[in-house]
Symmetry: C2
Subunit: 444 residues, 2 copies
């Protein structure tokens, strides 16, 4: 078969861009760093959203929607926050045909505007905790964009909560990290993320503690898959989020924020993709099984339709590809590129023997299966291969992570994977030295 | 009971704003005309989205996501389009700490950017029709904002499709109008919309035909609930959306666009609301039944929990309100404000008689029901009251619509409702005259 993508071993970043283009996942937008998310990738994002949203609701947060436009003055109220975000802001100066009296910022994140309204809505301890989340687009001007990973505009969910005590805020930020993000990433994305804390230098602008989930990509590098922040009383003081306690005193609340983005699509590609394209975890895949009419023939379409209906009845997300006028080889390459977990090929020859061919994208096997056994075979494969993807990502991470004792060894090991090193051997000075060599301290 | 809202008969616009504030549906945002959609209203929007999205997928359109930021030059390519939208644009002139070479427009709608990419993606007649939709926020600078109805930023879905022939584009624009919008509005929102065409003066900027669904509000005025446009070849020519036909010739495609917005939440309030608050159609309601512990007492909570579990098992979206420390009267007023279709009140006295009280928001009835009959009673009420809301909206519309023969009579009738008048008696001059008297020709 002709080579479809630049092999990963040859040029990993190029392979990544090739895959996104060939699998029709995204295009670059006309404004620097923006992207068009095409249906193949957007369907993945919809499934990510649904699974995350269910977990967020399970954690008792309620969805809301706050404005895209934030007065520039809001950002300045929290000193570290404005310093962190200023270089990335997009600013509206004209609207309705006139110059604006105060410039408007296109939200890079929404701590400030949530803070403003939390202050209005919270009176007493009875109003706490206040647990909010929104699904939205945000803008951070990006000088070195990479599709899904670093884009000027991206889609995300951002949670914002207010609590009566530091302990409650801390517990909730942890709960989101583990029961929403980690659970989703491990069990749906089949990505074995490592939870931990960021160093002071890598913290979110305005946070007192940033917790992260880091995943190892196919090239041994790390990607931050989601973060959950304790904001202490920084935003509560800047926006005057106070409540009357049970004892009658007026107290500042403790707030958190947490986010995960379309970057997860990039992580998914880089963890599970291979030289033939994406491999989607079956539980996530918008299409789990694609039935393909290999070529027209006696009873072929009828058999394909029957299998489609049986699989649908068994709860499998199935699609029928009966475009017999397009060469089968090309359609098979496309299905591999898109990462559809199982293909069921129905053609005259196998059909004559009472079989269809079941091709599994994740382990690459392909074998004839009696028509009557297809449903059992496919549902079994979907279950097995979900676990297989997680296992192989875990094996790669273990293989490429070494325990070292010194900063020098850590920097060397980071050329091909991850190094686990005692923080006492690094420290803030060591972190600066490592950063100078393009090595980052990902998590504590 | 104390008066909660300004009565509709006294001041309908004020009643509307009161309801939105008291039911905690939305707040005004800090930037002119923006709004914060609070959880009570956002939950309604989520249910609207889910029901619409299923119908859009049924109509074979695929979801995608296009950038918020559009180069200013794109809008100028279609002459009527730029003329229509220029006065409402918000413009980004600075980003990443620098002044931009070309100003960026925050999308007021996305025909232009969809057009640009459709031109790239379409080669041959085999690529048609191309049926896309996106859920997104858009910005149109609003000088006279009204929550949900006219806001500077709003949420919506916008569909964009390209077809090989004018007839196919026309059929699809009609299909969306009827099988997505009208079906959703009548059967879920219980709003008897009237489909029709807009006059040339009221058409979407760049369309050759705009179809609309108009609904009558509680004050007899009309609200546009959704529109579907035929764009002819205007955008195909401006963005060079061409395809190679089966005969081998290169042809311009025919495009459509169609949208519905968070304005539907405003319509819902104004059609079904009464002087006690919102009344939600049961099929739409995020919470269909609320079980309320009237006050603490022997076995009360246990009985309430049991009813909750039984209703849940029967497929009812149910919530338990056991906040016995908050006065029951206040909680009941809140439930009425929010429009929850059924309340089930569980208190010691009724419980001693083996009953709960079922209060129906839509017809205002309240009666004791044996515990064993509650599930049947509630599921029956939800079905009956969905129809009841539709019937009463229909009755109002019929009562307030008169058939007239002259423009003068039409203008007079429009003071209290709608007038149906032959277009031959109006014409373009008559339309201008009516507009001068604050009367609009809504649909043909
Ligand atoms: Zn304060
Ligand atoms: Zn052209």
């Amino acid at each position: 078969m002709a080579r479809v993508l630049t092999p990963r071993a040859e040029d990993f970043p190029r392979w990544y861009q090739d895959l996104i283009a060939k699998a029709q996942m995204a295009d670059n937008g006309p404004v620097r760093g923006t992207m068009v998310i095409r249906p193949a990738a957007y369907a993945i994002w919809e499934r990510m959203q649904a699974a995350m949203d269910a977990r967020i609701k399970e954690a008792e947060a309620q969805n809301a929607y706050f404005p895209l436009f934030i007065p520039e003055s809001y950002l300045s109220r929290e000193a570290q926050h404005v310093e962190g975000f200023s270089p990335e802001l997009a600013v509206v100066t004209h609207a309705g045909g006139k110059e604006l009296a105060e410039p408007i910022v296109v939200r890079p994140t929404s701590e400030t505007i949530f803070g403003e309204f939390m202050a209005k809505w919270i009176d007493s301890y009875r109003d706490l905790p206040l647990l909010l989340n929104q699904w939205a687009n945000v803008v951070r001007w990006e000088l070195r964009p990479r599709t899904f990973l670093r884009t000027t505009e991206f889609l995300w969910q951002e949670g914002h909560t207010a609590h009566a005590t530091e302990a409650d805020a801390r517990d909730y930020a942890r709960r989101i990290l583990h029961s929403v993000y980690e659970d989703f990433m491990v069990n749906l994305l089949a990505i074995p993320v490592v939870p931990g804390r960021k160093t002071k230098g890598e913290r979110f602008a305005g946070a007192t503690n940033t917790m992260t989930l880091e995943a190892m990509m196919g090239d041994g590098k790390a990607l931050q898959m989601g973060t959950s922040h304790e904001l202490g009383q920084n935003f509560a003081k800047a926006f005057d989020i106070t409540y009357t306690s049970q004892a009658g005193t007026v107290e500042h609340a403790w707030t958190t924020s947490w986010g995960s983005t379309t970057r997860m699509i990039g992580g998914l590609i880089m963890v599970h993709g291979d030289d033939s394209g994406l491999r989607l975890p079956p539980l996530l895949a918008p299409i789990q099984a694609q039935i393909m009419v290999v070529k027209a023939g006696e009873g072929v379409t009828e058999a394909a339709v029957k299998l489609r209906d049986e699989l649908k009845a068994a709860g499998v997300r199935v699609k029928l590809d009966d475009r017999a006028d397009i060469p089968f080889g090309r359609r098979a390459v496309d299905a591999e590129l898109q990462g559809i977990p199982v293909r069921i090929e129905v053609g005259p020859r196998d059909l004559a023997a009472g079989n269809a061919v079941v091709a599994r994208r994740i382990d690459g096997t392909k074998s004839p299966v009696a028509l009557a056994d297809v449903v059992t075979e496919v549902t079994g494969a979907l279950k097995t291969d979900q676990q297989r993807l997680l296992d192989s990502a875990l094996a790669l991470r273990q293989e490429r992570t070494v325990d070292v004792e010194t900063l020098g060894d850590a920097i060397e090991a980071a050329q091909t994977g991850w190094a686990r090193v005692p923080w006492s051997a690094v420290g803030t000075d060591g972190e600066a030295e490592a950063n100078g060599k393009a090595v980052t301290v990902r998590c504590l």
